[in-house]
Subunit: 421 residues, 2 copies
């Protein structure tokens, strides 16, 4: 298994103003290529420390990827130091210069300064990584049994370079092709998911299967490196088909799409309009729906009914329901969902009413207690959840995800609506 | 100026599943203490690579801070390797063990396993950093002219250790006291802010003044290290008082409080109820208000009027306004704000209507065009913003921040409501 180290160059990373998200992204990509990442080093724009770091990285691993330090200023020395360490001359690359001129031109007809010319010089035997989204080209240098690649630091340019150049370059080097696909699940815990998938992943090294958990959700990346792209794709598809057989009901996207996008797309596809009634989430559910471009096709209005008065006035929740069962009750959630659907004249009405904390909890209804309501297809369904009290933001976020999954299951006709394991 | 390196130990960081946010946090704290951070190294749970990294870090800087690798398993070797590198024996610390037992007891009456005992061993001459929020104690070791500190990797425990032990330890080492305070601004660009503050920060090394910009906002941290805490505090307060004289109208918090918290607190203090009418933000403004605990004191209902029908039905926006000026217009924003206030019977009504993109823009009203309305104190005010088209999320977030600042300025009687430089 080839090994790699990252060398991230940039004083701003050492000041603590910028979180180094590049390192995780690059590592995750390398991991999918079957490359083992041994070190991340971050160092400022200091020539002797950058050189020292490059030496350490090159001596300890097969592949070194540097980010940053490719800019036009005197401080930007990554390329110069790599050339020095690898025993290379820097030579002018006309295509890099032409692309830079074109790039500047596209930004309000500007022209490169004298400084920028420095960016068009590359190590003599390097493979250039021309940059279509910024000014600094990157490159790969394969020499003395080591591969070193330099790419720009701004995350947008870094991602472009990884996708367009670094991943294909490393695949070619390994004389094989990478195929990867990520599916996403909701309602199944990460360790349970791993246990369920064990029969199909145990004892095999390709495809690799990696789980990425966040609150309530889990993404699973399946990656394969094979002699041909077709073989890699077939291997990945086989694993995903097996996974679908085992945990398919929890998979909401096979294309790494986010849950709220899946829901909006589904509503569009089925020509359904949704209306929202929110208490404890205070607009977060509607915000999530409307964060998807084109949401106006499936959403026209939402009610944030934080007070009991609002629940009565806007959704027609009965005074008796509020006085007898309280706002956080099955009955209130049901009337809110139905009330939202009727008031909006929509196909679906959803409601969220609960206790997000930090105050307002009781022994019977602790913080985290939430009732979710759904009015759809001529009937009203309610779901009770008691989330662990990991804070207000967590509880509200979980409410939104749960509600999305309930809508998804209802629209697809996949019950029970609230299956969670 | 003392120098420092971080050594972050944990294979999960190299897999790319976890973004290393600890490094930025610790760097920023060290920066405030006048410590120059030279390197971040991240390495997996591999003894020889961890040792190699510790050697490099110790040889290159005065202070080394390690995170992670203090757990109970065989993999957790940071402490053992530090002891080896520093020539120390590990000795049993009874207090650490007692605290661990108490910690386990507080979690459902559990008891430590045999493995956990390993966590109670510390280098013989170390200063223990007892852990009240987790099981692993940290420590500082000052030897051979170097200071090495080990703290746990989980961010919550890391922050606790930094605040409670590392910062005071380094202050004591420097024989001085740190005082720091952060103020937050809105409506002034970062470079403009730096230019305005130049007269009070130029040429001085203490207090240090660091700006941290994010969309629309800028936080400014002022930190001083002086022989006594009182002197440090006085020095910081002097700089902040001078800053307030120059850019005070843009400062919304002197206590590093977020803008939506400031607004909710202000509404509470003035006993004002706010109602919201949102189009392009689709609930994000109300979500921001209700994310603050206790928001129910100032907020009862909100209207998400995404469609024109909703604007008419729920807020009483005139058909003529919509047909003559469109939904993204001064007139519509005014009627939405007034309509929300009247429908809710509140003191304040706010409205946001604009084009968040990616579609829907035109030459006259490009993506990013937003009208913000405010009904308060017997009059209706509107503000036009044309945000750069940096994507839907950015435009919506900017709308929310702008609206908050308009409310803040209106409630404080600090006009003009939309001053931005």
């Amino acid at each position: 298994m080839p090994t790699a180290s990252l060398v991230c160059v940039g004083t701003e990373l050492l000041f603590g103003q910028t979180i180094n998200t590049n390192a995780a992204y690059i590592s995750s990509e390398l991991q999918a290529l079957g490359v083992s990442v041994l070190w991340h080093h971050t160092v400022g724009d200091n020539p002797s420390r950058v050189r020292q770091t490059l030496d350490l990285a090159l001596s300890g691993s097969d592949i070194v990827i540097t980010t940053g330090g490719l800019g036009p200023t005197q401080d930007d020395l990554t390329k110069e130091l790599i050339a020095e360490v690898m025993g290379e001359e820097l030579v002018f690359d006309k295509k890099a210069m032409d692309m830079m001129i074109a790039h500047f031109k596209s930004f309000g007809n500007r022209v490169p300064t004298k400084n920028n010319e420095k960016q068009a010089y590359l190590p003599a035997s390097a493979t250039p990584f021309y940059n279509e989204v910024g000014t600094a080209p990157g490159f790969a240098l394969n020499k003395n049994g080591k591969t070193i690649m330099a790419i720009p630091g701004p995350p947008r340019e870094m991602r472009y370079m990884m996708e367009k150049y670094v991943v294909p370059y490393l695949s070619a080097l390994a004389d094989s092709a990478l195929y990867q696909q990520t599916f996403r699940t909701f309602g199944i815990g990460e360790s349970r998911l791993e246990t369920e998938l064990l029969p199909i992943i145990e004892g095999q090294t390709d495809p690799t299967v990696a789980t990425y958990a966040k609150d309530g959700e889990c993404a699973v990346r399946v990656a394969s490196m094979r002699p041909t792209a077709a073989e890699a794709e077939a291997a990945v598809k086989r694993v995903i088909a097996s996974a679908a057989e085992i945990v398919g009901e929890f998979i909401y996207s096979y294309e790494d799409k986010e849950l709220h996008h899946v829901v909006v797309d589904l509503l569009k596809e089925k020509n359904l309009i949704i209306a929202t009634a929110e208490s404890c989430t205070g607009g977060e559910y509607a915000q999530s729906i409307t964060s998807v471009p084109g949401a106006s096709l499936v959403f026209g209005r939402g009610f944030i009914t934080y007070s009991n008065d609002a629940k009565k006035a806007l959704l027609g929740v009965g005074e008796d329901v509020l006085s007898e069962y309280g706002a956080v009750s099955e009955q209130c959630a049901a009337e809110m969902a139905e009330g939202a659907r009727l008031a909006a004249g929509s196909d679906i009405g959803v409601s969220i009413t609960g206790i997000a904390g930090p105050d307002g909890g009781s022994v019977e209804k602790p913080v985290g207690t939430v009732w979710l309501g759904l009015s759809f297809g001529g009937k009203v369904t309610t779901v009770l959840r008691v989330f662990p009290n990991r804070g207000r933001q967590y509880i509200r976020r979980m409410c939104v995800l749960e509600m999305h999954d309930i809508v998804r299951r209802a629209v697809l006709g996949k019950g029970p609506l609230d299956k969670r394991i």
